[in-house]
Point group: C2
């Protein structure tokens, strides 16, 4: 197993706090590098997913950028095939596009989450990714 | 010498293009991960400084966040002592605060630059950091 859970640039932080943890299958970890204040309008968190962990489908009203720093994972927009992600990849998620992201079944996965235009409001959390959708990803 | 110029997460990119290159002493490299569009209002670049390279004093009207991914360098705000930076460090630069950043004399230095609230306008570039200010940093 590709274990990068403690070998990346930014701290792993603590177990994903509520109310967010309930929108993840499996355990994720969060270290908030920049808080969601009105000065920068750009909260940045370092998110670490254990193997098999992924978040629910969701939307960001101001968009989101993912900067992958370690491991192997997936990003999928509704109606499109999943995209495999590895260290150095960048994902630009337009506002209000329904999507999910998370680790591969056999690898930890680490990305920075940059919430752009955060003054537009918080994420809208939706249903979990169905097991048959996730389990067919290699 | 601590050479991390090719050992970091995001690409080194090309030599800093003009008009920006003239605001650096020494050679810096830039890979734009997210362009400065009106969709995200959050251009993100990976900036690599060769040893001894630093940018001029400057200000960002919407603020800036630095996420350090490798090497050793410095950040200084006008009227304050310089802060040493290493991998994993985060710098939150408020709007319109005069500052500079760059590598240590004996190390490459790599950071992500996140330009927050970029709709506020481009950076204002000012005078170079005086040699006697830079040279006394260890």
């Amino acid at each position: 197993m590709n274990d990068v859970s403690n070998s990346v640039v930014f701290p792993q932080g603590n177990k994903m706090p509520e109310p967010f943890n309930k929108y993840f299958i499996g355990q994720a970890y969060l270290d908030m590098l920049v808080s969601g204040d009105k000065e920068f309008n750009c909260p940045i968190g370092n998110v670490t997913f254990e193997p098999g962990c992924r978040n629910n489908w969701h939307k960001h009203p101001g968009g989101q950028i993912l900067l992958v720093t370690g491991g192997r994972g997936w990003y999928q927009e509704e109606g499109k095939p999943a995209r495999e992600l590895k260290s150095g990849d960048v994902v630009k998620i337009p506002a209000n596009v329904k999507h999910w992201h998370g680790a591969a079944k056999d690898s930890w996965f680490v990305h920075l989450s940059v919430e752009t235009n955060s003054q537009a409001g918080p994420a809208e959390w939706l249903e979990p990714v169905a097991d048959d959708v996730y389990n067919k990803l290699k």
